[in-house]
């Protein structure tokens, strides 16, 4: 029972962190049809900025998160404008190579600027230590990660299902040309959703820093995981991404707890099985 509970909370926390980081990737991939392998790099940049803000500048956790999210979006704007826009609609191979190249650059630069060591983001007092739930205690930062995931999922649901921006976004995902001809400014929809995606990646990178530690190879190490989540969930589908994150998080964490010597064997086996059965993702639309 003890094991089941701790596996459950760890899986939930891990899945939620995955969700916060990769939901932006899922939305932009559904929207712009760009296979973006550089998404993890933005999460890493967010983590580095937050670490710098708390460690060197001595700012508080909340301020650091805000600064990191805004900073990462500012860094991402010229990249989106000058690099990504050229590969919208290009063949997949081109997109893969461009974004891998970008990832390599970010890794090299991060190492040059911040050094190869692991960077930590000190948690505020309230998030340290365990929280007593009455029958079990659970690490506060994990609870915080789970809460963040739920809040992000809820906020995105409201944004996409209940606001006029969401209507335009869904229209653009379904058929960009038709949406544009009906008066939706798809360029603005693209720009806003890219900014939100990058901001969420940075946010997820900070919140998940305890589970996915920030170091220069972060962008390469988790690149595959984020891409897998989107592919399994179905690009552009928020519930799909949520289900994928929870399922894959559960498989990965359970595998690590019960048969640690097999590493990520079961994770990738599950990925192959799921993708073979659902080539468009669990909740993806037929393309």
């Amino acid at each position: 029972m003890q094991t089941v509970f701790s596996v459950g909370t760890d899986a939930l926390a891990y899945g939620m962190v995955l969700f916060v980081i990769s939901i932006g990737l899922s939305v932009t991939m559904g929207l712009m049809r760009v296979v973006n392998l550089a998404h993890g790099a933005f999460a890493m940049i967010g983590g580095y900025i937050a670490s710098y803000a708390t460690q060197i500048l001595g700012l508080g956790y909340g301020v650091a998160i805000l600064l990191a999210v805004v900073g990462t979006i500012l860094i991402a704007i010229p990249i989106e404008r000058f690099l990504f826009r050229r590969i919208y609609g290009a063949p997949e191979l081109t997109q893969v190579l461009m974004t891998i190249g970008l990832t390599f650059c970010v890794i090299g630069i991060a190492n040059y600027v911040f050094g190869p060591t692991l960077k930590t983001i000190p948690l505020p007092e309230t998030l340290r230590g365990p929280v007593d739930l009455g029958f079990r205690s659970i690490a506060a930062h994990k609870l915080f990660a789970i809460a963040c995931g739920i809040v992000v999922a809820g906020a995105l649901w409201v944004l996409i299902d209940k606001t006029s921006f969401g209507v335009k976004l869904r229209a653009s995902v379904d058929n960009a040309a038709m949406a544009a001809s009906l008066g939706v400014r798809t360029k603005i929809v693209y720009a806003v959703s890219s900014a939100v995606a990058v901001g969420l990646a940075a946010f997820g990178g900070i919140v998940g820093a305890e589970l996915l530690p920030i170091e220069p190879y972060y962008a390469l190490r988790y690149m595959v995981t984020f891409l897998v989540v989107v592919s399994v969930g179905g690009a552009g589908s928020i519930p799909g991404a949520l289900v994928a994150c929870l399922v894959l998080g559960a498989i990965d964490t359970t595998g690590r707890y019960l048969v640690p010597e097999y590493g990520e064997f079961f994770f990738y086996l599950a990925v192959i099985a799921i993708v073979c059965v659902f080539p468009n993702g669990i909740l993806g639309r037929r393309s």
Binding site: M29, V96, G108, N111, V224
Partner: protein, 334 residues
């Protein structure tokens, strides 16, 4: 668009009666470069042999990515399978004749190619890419786990190949390994030139352009691609076997995602859809890597990243494709 232009250009090149002459010139160029390398870097033959082995991997990747249009980030799975097949044959079954080891490597690679191809062809686009990544990780974890057979993370050591023809032993200088590797590369190169020009090769190019149309014409798309995958696996397996024979050890890195991604980078830097491009890309990348990463491995990452972005933006046909285009332009002006 760019790709179509490249085919048009290459179609022109391949047409005409002097294709045999071109192939012989290509072969002569490969051998000449190999000879120059031997004379200029006699103390660095191990690196040159490794370049030869990786060149086989990149050639095999070109077969599926360049000629069939399948983007894969998991091709090292086939390379590593060949390497482990040859290594296991040598260590556990006493098959230490280098030619037999190479053959075992090719068979192992082809088998892995069939398996990987059968899985990869289930998906399209993003799903296919993710499947390729999952396959290479699965192979990696399997090799890591089956440490009785593969040595796990310590690597498979104790491979001691017999002398070639019973005369030329694999010594510390690596001369035999180098000549052996270049001989394999030359033979494979000629065979692949014939393959890509054969009706089968043309069918693969047709599938890359328009699979629906090819299937409407009555050809089996997946069957053809699967066959190409097996051939590609055999070539990659040969490369892996060569690596196992020359370094006498097989490590888990031969099955890694990083190796796969690097192979793809080499191919694109050189130019997809042309065997020469694969060779040019491998040589440029590996030589440059050896040169820069000796100074600082992280600068190397930044440079290769910037180079990739530049190639994608400004030279989508790669170094070889762009060079031939420029030559054609100069030629036509005269």
């Amino acid at each position: 668009m760019a790709i179509q232009r490249a085919i048009a250009a290459e179609g022109k090149v391949d047409a005409g009666p002097n294709w045999l002459l071109r192939d012989l010139m290509g072969l002569a160029a490969v051998l000449a470069v190999a000879g120059i390398g031997y004379l200029l870097f006699p103390n660095n033959l191990a690196l040159l042999t490794r370049i030869t082995a990786i060149a086989l991997l990149v050639l095999s990747l070109d077969l599926v990515t360049g000629y069939c249009g399948i983007a894969t980030l998991g091709h090292a799975a086939l390379f590593g399978s060949g390497a482990y097949a040859a290594g296991i044959a040598a260590v556990h079954f006493d098959i230490t004749d280098p030619f037999a080891m190479a053959a075992v490597g090719a068979v192992g690679g082809a088998a892995a190619g069939l398996l990987a191809g059968a899985i990869m062809l289930r998906g399209r686009g993003l799903a296919q890419l993710v499947l390729s990544i999952a396959i290479v990780y699965l192979f990696h974890e399997t090799a890591n786990k089956a440490s009785n057979w593969t040595g796990g993370s310590d690597g498979l050591a104790g491979i001691s190949p017999d002398p070639v023809f019973g005369i030329f032993g694999f010594d510390l200088w690596g001369r035999t390994a180098y000549v052996f590797g270049i001989a394999i590369l030359a033979v494979v190169f000629v065979l692949l030139r014939l393959l890509v020009r054969s009706p089968f090769g043309m069918l693969c190019r047709g599938i890359r352009e328009d699979p629906v149309r090819v299937s409407a014409m009555g050809a089996s798309v997946n069957g053809t691609l699967l066959r190409m995958y097996a051939i590609s696996g055999a070539v990659a397996g040969l490369g892996g076997a060569l690596n196992a024979i020359s370094t006498q050890v097989v490590g888990l890195d031969s099955l890694s995602f990083t190796t796969s991604a690097e192979a793809l980078v080499m191919l694109v830097v050189g130019g997809t859809g042309s065997l020469f491009g694969a060779l040019v890309g491998t040589l440029t990348f590996m030589w440059f890597e050896d040169f820069v990463s000796a100074i600082n491995p992280f600068h190397w990452l930044t440079i290769i990243g910037a180079l990739l972005i530049a190639v994608v933006l400004f030279a989508p046909n790669g170094l070889y494709g762009t060079a031939t285009q420029l030559l054609h332009r100069v030629w036509n002006k005269r």
